[in-house]
């Protein structure tokens, strides 16, 4: 079992703020990992640290088995990076960009590059700044993929793209996934994209990785309970795994991680008139989990071999 990406207690401060807080994460080779988090949670900073764009204040990371502090050029040639907003030199034509990029890599699959460009009916002499955002995203992806990298790191690749273009982009991504051995780490705000494509998710909240488990597990573990009370609902119930608690009319809406016997007993001990347990889809699970008051967030991180453990990472 090898890891394409491993980080150990990666930390970055900006002033007093810990933008990335003691973050330890592992991505299995050949898997697709979705990094989630609200704006400002630290996803971009984490990715930039992996790519050497930002220096960590503490901690280590390895990409394809090598420490990021001294990545050999040979290893870098096997890693592709798509930064947020897919920046590129506007004055370059698609052909210029291809020739520029190609000069750095020993492997360059020009047939693959042409395939993507032709599929989107782009002409190689079009200047990058004249392309629409969606077209720019596709060109950037084509440039990232042509050197046949083993590891792709994408920072919010579908940001600002409309629905149709997003679907196109995902299709290209699926094609990449189908070619064996690619590891992909991508951050996203579009939960349905993550549901489609990611095998494992990580949720960052205020720089801390609170969740690191298979996509299905995250969705299944976050539950919403609607409790009705005959009298006044209790103010702040003490229930293990409680994410948030909201008063809704004569009742309470609780969001919990997991729902085992201990939790059920604690809920029943509040003596509600009725208990309704709702399953959530991925988007709602994410919203409920990250919306709650930050102090009391129960974290759940799972080992890659699916052993269940609750590990509190970083400062609470």
């Amino acid at each position: 079992m090898s890891y394409a990406i491993q980080t150990e207690r990666l930390t970055k401060h900006y002033g007093d703020r810990r933008v990335v807080d003691s973050l330890s994460l592992q991505v299995l080779t050949g898997s697709v990992y979705g990094l989630l988090g609200r704006n400002g949670a630290g996803k971009s900073t984490l990715i930039k640290m992996l790519m050497g764009m930002v220096r960590p204040d503490a901690g280590q990371a390895e990409l394809l088995g090598q420490n990021i502090d001294n990545l050999s050029n040979c290893t870098r040639a096997r890693i592709a990076y798509l930064a947020e907003g897919h920046p590129l030199y506007g004055w370059m034509s698609i052909d210029d960009a291809a020739r520029f990029t190609r000069s750095f890599y020993p492997r360059w699959n020009d047939k693959l590059f042409s395939q993507i460009i032709e599929h989107f009916e782009l002409s190689r002499c079009q200047k990058y700044r004249r392309l629409s955002r969606g077209q720019q995203a596709q060109v950037s992806l084509a440039l990232a993929v042509a050197p046949e990298p083993e590891l792709l790191i994408l920072d919010d690749p579908t940001l600002g793209l409309d629905t149709v273009v997003r679907r196109d982009f995902l299709e290209s991504l699926i094609q990449i996934i189908q070619r064996q051995g690619h590891t992909i780490l991508f951050s996203s705000h579009i939960l349905s994209d993550v549901e489609r494509v990611a095998e494992r998710v990580g949720v960052m909240v205020n720089g801390v990785l609170r969740v690191d488990c298979p996509t299905d597990t995250f969705r299944e573990q976050v539950r919403k309970l609607v409790l009705e009370f005959s009298g006044h609902p209790p103010e702040s119930p003490k229930i293990p795994g409680l994410v948030s608690c909201r008063q809704a009319g004569a009742g309470l809406e609780l969001v919990l991680v997991g729902y085992d016997d201990a939790q059920r007993e604690a809920v029943e001990a509040l003596d509600p008139r009725s208990i309704a347990v709702l399953d959530l889809n991925l988007e709602d699970a994410f919203i409920e989990y990250t919306r709650g008051p930050r102090r009391s967030l129960p974290s759940f991180a799972m080992e890659n071999d699916d052993a269940q453990s609750t590990r509190d990472q970083g400062a609470a």
Partner: protein, 133 residues
Amino acid sequence: MEFQCDPTSRVPIYRQLMDQIRQAVARGRLRPGVRLPSVRTLSRELVVNPNTIARTYTELEREGVLHTRQGLGVFVAAPQADLSAAARRERLATALDRFLTEAFHLGFSADELQSAITKRIRAFQFADSVSNT
């Protein structure tokens, strides 16, 4: 057969597909011996991670609904009677109890249920099943 998936559903995608395949087999739309699309094709069509499709097929193979022929693909399995008559009846009884409970909570009477079931069986186009007593 047309597959669909809803990534915004509470049901995981692999389970949605499993349900669709199971239902199609039950309705006779997928007959035994029919080849299902390859993992690659289906994952590209539905824009879903190939591992999800692979998981669907693996789970259904475990249930005996599908089987893989090396190098040839994934096929609908011939219906097999690997459970004893008693076991099958017991399973049916459990499924029926579940269904009847839900029907009760929806407010239907026993008579209404009888005609509803008959009508539904006709509409479902129940496929030929293994008769085994």
